[in-house]
């Protein structure tokens, strides 16, 4: 192995960041993996199934954690954020802040603390569809497997969890910690957030009951989600017998996200399958402009559409209103049949696209974004790299491939300097 000249910093502990870190560390390079949230896994850890194989993402994540945990070259900092970056390729000074989780590594996730905790907070893991206690574990497969306290949701005078904990794992006095490091290369694997559907005026999200977005649908389908995998709509927990999927909700739209996120068509087809399996009586309507299922995904799209209860309607939904008893009315033109349609369904899923997590973020000068907020190549500062959706919207498969490439580029920077 070449002489070790510097470390690689990977920002973001989702599937891309973990993949980049592993690829570099498994050939012997030092990696620091920084994740903002208390657990690794990112968006992927909230998915129910991957397309096209319809297998659970937690399975692949678990394999990655298993590789990551014993690897001596990776230092993982969760609940941590990069404050500043300066320097040049081969020599970047980075300041990292680790926020307190108020729970230390002695935690054995015995759940005694949640039994006594009196406060609740919205679960961001479930996109606000349900609540957790103020002391919580992000999900059952969290890595590190440890509780976290949301102090904003706590009563400051309460210390019931501390008293309940038999392992001395809770320290309410824990303080933020700053670490200064020097690295040779930096990989942004900061991923994405679902586009804020509240901004799409005509599609009713946040105003019309039972209009959800596609990431919420993943949680509803998930066995560990707010409905334990039952196909229940949020307003009244009624079984959803009819669901309309609204494709390109805020995507390919100059008023919202001008680009195609490349995954929403396949995600909706996949979710249509979830719904059909969870409720064999369900009728699914997918309103689309065109179905984008490139390459081998064409087979997947064709297969899903064989189900006669998955009805494809060419024409974008442009109006969503409240119907009777919590139902939702969608309006579109059925282009292939040449007429306007107005359809009342139990629930509507908006196939919102991916917005770069970096959009609107306060970034160090060395990082350049393109016009859509994705990390752009920086020729002056070639030690700043990106991987996965931080670079461009795509599926998990292409993100992992991209991450391998990013690891190699990072190694080149380390060795080349």
């Amino acid at each position: 192995m070449a002489e070790q000249k510097g470390k690689i910093l990977v920002i973001g502990g989702g599937i891309s960041g973990v993949s980049t870190a592993l690829e570099a560390a498994e050939v012997g390079y030092d990696v620091i993996l920084v994740e903002k949230n208390p657990s690794l896994g990112g968006r992927v850890s909230r998915f129910y199934q991957y397309f096209p194989k319809l297998c659970p993402p937690l399975c692949g994540l678990e394999i990655n954690y298993k590789r990551l945990k014993p690897n001596p070259y990776i230092q993982t900092l969760t609940n941590s954020e990069v404050e500043s970056i300066s320097g040049e390729p081969g020599k970047y000074q980075v300041k990292i802040t680790t926020n307190p989780t108020f729970v230390n590594e002695k935690c054995v996730i015995c759940d005694k603390c949640t039994e006594v905790c009196p406060s609740e907070r919205e679960s961001e893991h479930n996109y606000g569809l349900d609540k957790t206690k103020a002391i919580f574990i992000p999900h059952k497969m969290a890595y590190p497997a440890r509780f976290t306290i949301d102090r904003d949701a706590c009563d400051p005078s309460c210390s019931k969890c501390v008293e309940a904990c038999e392992y001395d794992a809770i320290d309410l006095q824990m303080q933020p910690k700053t670490t200064d490091i020097e690295v040779a290369a930096i990989v942004y694997a900061t991923g994405w957030k679902p586009y804020d559907a509240n901004k799409i005026d005509n599609l009713g999200f946040g105003k019309v009951e039972n209009v959800i977005n596609n990431v919420m649908m993943e949680r509803i389908a998930h066995g560990q989600g707010p409905t334990q995998g039952q196909l229940l709509r949020p307003s009244d927990q009624k079984k959803a017998d009819s669901i309309a999927f609204v494709q390109c909700a805020g995507s390919r739209d100059e008023n919202h996200l001008p680009y195609c996120s490349a995954v929403c068509c396949l995600a909706s087809l996949k979710q249509a399958r979830y719904a059909r399996l969870a409720n064999p009586d369900a009728k699914i309507y997918i309103f689309y402009i065109d179905i984008r299922s490139p390459g081998k995904y064409e087979d997947f799209a064709t297969e899903i559409q064989k189900d006669e209860n998955i009805i494809m309607v060419k024409g974008k939904v442009a109006k969503v209103t409240q119907g009777q008893g919590g139902n939702v009315v969608v309006e579109a033109e059925d282009i292939l049949n040449g007429g306007k349609v107005s359809l009342e369904v139990d629930m509507v899923v908006l196939a919102t696209g991916m917005e770069s997590s970096m959009k609107g973020a306060n970034l160090p000068d060395v990082v350049q974004l393109d016009e859509n907020g994705f990390v752009a190549p920086n020729l002056q500062n070639h030690g700043i790299l990106s991987a996965g959706v931080a670079k461009f919207p795509g599926d998990v498969n292409s993100s992992i491939q991209d991450s391998t490439g990013a690891a190699l580029k990072a190694i080149q920077t380390v060795v080349g300097n």
Binding site: R252, G338, G339
Partner: protein, 402 residues
């Protein structure tokens, strides 16, 4: 519908639509947001999504025989919500301009009126004609300029001379307009044969006139709804001015044939009902046209204004301005009022003569299309798609040849 259709793409037509105001046509990717948000489209075979693709593909034959551009009132709800900035509202307006250019009789007039250069060329005709008539009736002398008493009709050009010019111009406008309407309806009836959902002709006409008088469709618009106010001012002003003109002419001839002033002669006193109608109409026209100009220049959602629109707007604006100015300057005692009145005459002549070829033609064509829409049953969602019919036969023929 058959599986295979042969498209006769007319690329010149596509270019024409883009030049006539639909410049962003090619941005459309057929999501049909426009059709869903359109407050005016029938439910069956709705617009404007299908017009967008037909215009992109250059299916001229179908588009100029389509009713739907006339059912569109350029509300711009579609353009506002279009995710691509393709501005379907402007494209529909451009298609209307193209239809006028295609059905107008004689057809060269329909094309010349589309551009500022063409319009100026056409303006030369009344500029020369009216100047020539003034010269002739004054025996080639401009002696009236030295007369301290300013009277347009007694000194510069007689009422009779005006009528000799304007009645033919008006007839030309009306007759070519009706011939244009005949062309339009011929196309529409090919696309929309009368169905039993349609109304009889007389109720269709009455219904349409009622809708026009109340500006019903205009008021169903979403974002650009307030333009109906400007249009209404101008619309009723035109009716008022038509009544005034007919009244004044009527008085002149009654007195002429009676040999004496059996009714109050012109110029009418200020409180004469016809005079009041005339002045109120002039005021309404001023308000209407100024509102239109103001909104076209400042409001965001009025859409694209092309030469074809501006020529008509400026024509009316100048007619109103010169009309008011001529009277004011005359009362002030300046000889300049003759020139202003001359300009006024030229502009009015343009409006009359090229009525069906300019944007004013919408008076003929939209009215006719709306009547036919009720008559054929289009309003009740009887529609058409663009790819049916003739092309199939042509495809079969081309197969035979192959």
């Amino acid at each position: 519908m058959s599986d295979r259709v042969l498209i006769n793409a007319d690329l010149k037509f596509v270019e024409g639509v883009m030049k006539a105001g639909g410049e962003d046509l090619n941005k459309c990717y057929q999501c049909s947001t426009c059709t869903v948000v359109c407050p005016l489209t029938p439910e069956g075979a709705p617009f404007p999504r299908k017009e967008m693709i037909a215009a992109q593909w250059g299916i001229k034959d179908k588009l100029i025989k389509s009713m739907d551009p006339w059912l569109c009132f350029h509300c711009n709800d579609c353009s506002e919500q279009c995710p691509r900035g393709a501005k379907p509202g402007d494209v529909m307006a451009a298609i209307r301009n193209m239809i006028i250019a295609n059905v107008a009789v004689p057809s060269f007039l329909g094309k010349l009126t589309q551009s500022a250069g063409g319009a100026l060329g056409l303006l030369l005709f009344p500029i020369i004609l009216i100047a020539a008539v003034i010269f002739m009736v004054n025996g080639g002398e401009m002696a009236f300029l030295d007369n301290p008493v300013i009277d347009f009709h007694k000194n510069m050009i007689s009422q009779l001379a005006i009528e000799m010019i304007y009645i033919p111009a008006l007839f030309f406008g009306i007759i070519t307009g009706l011939l244009g309407v005949k062309n339009l309806i011929a196309g529409l009836s090919e696309t929309y044969p009368k169905t039993d959902k349609g109304e009889a002709l007389v109720p269709a006409i009455i219904g349409t006139v009622k809708d026009i008088l109340s500006h019903k469709k205009f008021r169903e618009c979403g974002v650009n709804q307030s333009r109906n106010i400007a249009h209404m001012f101008l619309f009723y002003a035109f009716i008022g001015l038509a009544i005034t003109t007919a009244g004044v002419t009527g008085i002149y001839y009654i007195n002429l044939f009676a040999g004496s002033n059996v009714v109050t002669p012109t110029p009418l006193p200020f409180f004469h009902p016809i005079k009041i109608i005339g002045n109120v109409s002039a005021l309404a026209a001023s308000i209407g046209i100024l509102l239109i100009v103001y909104r076209r220049l400042t409001a965001e959602n009025v859409g694209n204004t092309v030469a074809f629109d501006w020529i008509f707007i400026v024509n009316i604006l100048l007619i109103v301005a010169t009309g008011i100015l001529a009277q004011t300057v005359r009362v002030a005692g300046s000889q300049a009022s003759y020139f202003i009145y001359y300009c006024h005459l030229v502009l009015v002549f343009y409006l009359f003569m090229y009525m069906p070829h300019s944007k004013f033609g919408h008076m003929f064509y939209r009215t006719a299309a709306l009547v036919y829409s009720r008559y054929s049953g289009r309003e009740k969602s009887i529609g058409m798609t663009f790819l049916e019919g003739k092309q199939q036969e042509q495809l079969e023929e081309s197969d035979k040849v192959a």
